[in-house]
């Protein structure tokens, strides 16, 4: 149900044709959160393809023992760029892009608190991504092959010191991420301020959709944990350019200090990536089960718990460093503890589906797979928290399998669901369900073929970040199976891109509320006008549209 949109401020009518240059100009100068959200998501998809190609090359090289398709130098650059791109140029823009698009709509606001800062955040992220990839031709000067960084996405010292990484490849890693980090902090500030100060009438914190709570949590997390990464990177820059000794072990410095600083950022960072995925699930599962979220307050408190406890788990990446038994034990405890709120959320989602009438359109397909895959991811995470077990699993393919289950099985799956769910809102057209099903089944098969299998070579002693491995250790067949999952995933991603491109023009018209949903973004047109709502809606419960559709049984008395 929409309120009538006045013509004041409406766009020019569709029958006045506009040249592509004018359209491009509009997109470049935009400060509209919806357009910036779309720009973020499109950027993320672009980098997803790049990083996916890098991963495909990696899997090809590792398909059997002693292959020499890629040189060691090239392989090392590929896994560095793959990891760095996926975390900073795919995960972050996806998450903050959806946050950008949805938060104002969900809380009844017209835009983010600082629209120009918002635009700045996007463009500087894009610039950082381009800078990182420029290293491919610029890294060591144009004489050699040029080179991208080859220090791994977490760039441990002292490998990153000039003595061991000459040339400028590592500097590209450093500077590009400093730059994108600035943009991410800016966007986090923007979202935080928007949520705290610009909620519409009646929208108390306790009535916000869970997705908004997740964005609130991760924005607060980002403020606290991203500057430490920037600090460590500044220190590395001082070492590399001014001869400082922050990580110069020959001058008495500590190589482990980099790890502490990095992982103090790095671990909460994965919650920054995972929590919005939980937010997507918390929006999609209720609508497709036709039931209210089971235990809203518990879900919100669990997010806060994950954010808080998650900041105290970082050294579980360092169990093999020799921190000593007291610290090893403390971080084992916090790591296992953070699994509790995560598990609770899973139970709440199951509780939401229980007693419902579950529809398995594409968004729900992805969220269903997510539930099982994230269960697996969380449990392998607990295994890794059992320190002596970790002494065998750390830096092996078991860990690689684990975190791909978290980030793909967790974030990417719910993200695909989110794309199918909110694409109609953003464009006014539905994505093809048929293509969606192909996308889903190919991707879930390919993903599990690659990453479920991958746990095994880890448990058979295969280290990570190795460009090849010797025959006779029993690793070949598992690697081959893992590689066979690649074409499935690649085709699936191709299908969703085709789906998006075709449906933008030719998709079935969606209307305002194609899914019969309950949160505020569905109370305006698809796509929404630039000002979002002609009149800011006044809400009195967590599901404003449920109240409208069921005036005899509103939510408020039950909340």
């Amino acid at each position: 149900m929409t309120l009538p949109a006045p013509t004041i401020g409406a766009r020019r009518s569709a029958d006045a044709p506009r040249g592509w240059l004018a359209v491009l100009h509009d997109w470049v100068v935009t400060v509209d959160h919806k357009r910036l959200g779309i720009l973020y998501v499109v950027t993320a998809i672009g980098f997803l393809v790049v990083a996916g190609l890098e991963a495909s090359a990696i899997r090809l090289q590792l398909a059997w023992s002693n292959l020499h398709i890629l040189s060691p130098g090239t392989f090392n650059r590929l896994f560095t760029m793959h990891g760095t791109t996926m975390v900073f140029l795919v995960g972050i823009p996806f998450v903050f892009g959806f946050g950008n698009y949805l938060v104002p709509l969900m809380i009844g606001a017209r835009d983010l608190a600082f629209p120009r800062l918002n635009a700045f955040g996007f463009w500087i992220l894009l610039f950082g991504g381009v800078l990182l990839h420029f290293s491919v031709i610029g890294g060591e000067g144009l004489y050699g092959a040029g080179s991208a960084p080859a220090v791994g996405w977490f760039a441990y010292a002292p490998l990153t010191e000039r003595a061991f990484s000459p040339g400028n490849a590592t500097d590209y890693w450093n500077l590009a991420l400093l730059v994108t980090g600035l943009g991410t902090i800016a966007t986090a500030v923007n979202l935080l301020v928007t949520i705290l100060t610009m909620r519409g009438p009646g929208m108390t914190l306790g009535r916000m959709p869970v997705f908004v709570w997740e964005m609130l949590t991760i924005s607060a997390l980002t403020l606290i944990i991203l500057p430490p990464l920037s600090a460590a990177q500044i220190m590395l820059m001082l070492d590399r350019f001014l001869g400082a000794h922050f990580f110069d072990t020959q001058a008495g410095a500590s190589a482990v200090m980099w790890q502490h600083f990095f992982w103090f950022f790095g671990h909460p960072e994965v919650y920054v990536l995972a929590l919005p995925g939980f937010g997507f699930a918390s929006e999609i599962i209720p609508v497709f089960s036709r039931k209210v979220l089971f235990g809203y307050a518990t879900l919100v408190m669990a997010s806060a718990g994950i954010g808080l406890v998650g900041m105290g788990t970082w050294a579980h990446h360092m169990f093999a460093v020799g921190m000593g038994s007291p610290l090893n034990s403390a971080f084992a405890a916090s790591t296992m503890l953070v699994g509790v709120p995560t598990g609770v959320k899973l139970f709440n989602w199951l509780g939401t589906m229980y007693g419902g009438k579950i529809r398995f359109e594409t968004p729900m397909l992805f969220c269903t797979a997510f539930l099982f895959q994230f269960l697996c991811a969380g449990l392998t995470g607990i295994m890794l928290g059992v320190v002596p077990f970790d002494w065998q699993l750390h830096d092996s393919y078991f860990v690689v399998a684990h975190f791909h289950f978290v980030l793909i099985g967790g974030l990417i799956f719910t993200l695909f669901g989110a794309i199918y769910y909110w694409f109609p809102k953003a464009t006014g057209r539905m994505l093809s369900e048929r293509l969606g099903h192909w996308h889903f089944w190919l991707f879930v098969i390919g993903f599990n073929l690659t990453f479920l299998t991958m746990h095994v070579p880890g448990m058979l002693g295969m280290a990570r970040r190795i460009y090849t491995y010797p025959a006779g250790r029993g690793w070949e067949v598992w690697n081959l199976v893992a590689t066979l999952g690649v074409p499935f995933q690649a085709i699936a991603v191709l299908i969703v891109i085709v789906n998006v491109v075709v449906s933008v023009r030719h998709g079935v018209p969606a209307g305002d509320d194609p899914w019969d949903a309950w949160t505020l973004e569905w109370a305006t047109s698809s796509p929404p006008p630039p000002y979002n709502f002609a009149v800011l809606p006044v809400v009195s419960s967590r599901r404003p549209l449920w109240d409208l559709k069921h005036p005899d049984d509103p939510d408020a008395p039950h909340e």
Binding site: V189, V193, P201, H245, A253
Partner: protein, 195 residues
């Protein structure tokens, strides 16, 4: 859900945007400084060779006094602004700025002495590395603050700044107070604990 339409102000959204934004920024900045301070503390006593802090560091008392009193003067400036005394506030912003500049000059002179007389640079040893990094990071923030204060005095004197905008000037003052607060921490860690 009704279409009554009026935005409910304070009861739902009590904090003003700008203030919330500045608090967020200061949290992020605090986190940034914290890591440099942690590195400094961790490396105390670990330099393999001299010069060592107790040999070369002198308490920058005058400098610190200037910087910390500038917090008082910037408070005078915003108070004057609130009362509509534009020229007076411009004057106090200028005094604050001047005190900040004195601090920066003092830091520069200290660095000159350390480099030329004692041969301590960022590349000398762990002390040099962590000292110049944390003091330098702070001085950078002071410099940015000085620029903002200059802008504020110009706006105040030219009449472009109006009493209704005192909230925004207040945010700049908060930033300045933060920079001073960081100096208190740096002073204690570098010149007291680490010496």
């Amino acid at each position: 859900m009704s279409s009554a339409g009026m935005t409910e102000p304070a009861s739902v959204n009590p904090v003003w945007r700008g203030r919330a934004g500045m608090i967020c920024l200061l949290v992020a900045e605090g986190s940034l400084f914290a890591i440099f301070v942690v590195a400094y503390l961790f490396y105390i006593g670990k330099s393999l060779s001299g010069p060592y802090p107790k040999d070369v560091l002198e308490l920058p008392l005058f400098n610190s006094f200037c910087l910390l009193s500038s917090s008082v003067t910037v408070a005078f400036a915003t108070r004057a602004l609130r009362r509509g005394r534009m020229r007076r506030s411009g004057g106090w912003f200028l005094v604050t700025l001047a005190l900040g500049v004195v601090f920066l000059i003092g830091t520069a002179r200290e660095w000159y002495r350390l480099i030329v007389a004692h041969g301590l640079t960022i590349a000398t040893n762990l002390f040099g590395t962590t000292f110049y990094a944390v003091v330098g990071l702070h001085a950078t923030h002071v410099s940015l603050g000085v620029l903002v204060l200059a802008l504020l005095s110009v706006l105040a004197f030219s009449g472009a700044l109006r009493p209704e905008q005192v909230e925004r000037a207040d945010l700049a003052a908060w930033y300045w107070h933060f920079v001073d607060g960081v100096w208190v921490v740096v002073f204690i860690v570098v010149y007291v604990v680490g010496r």
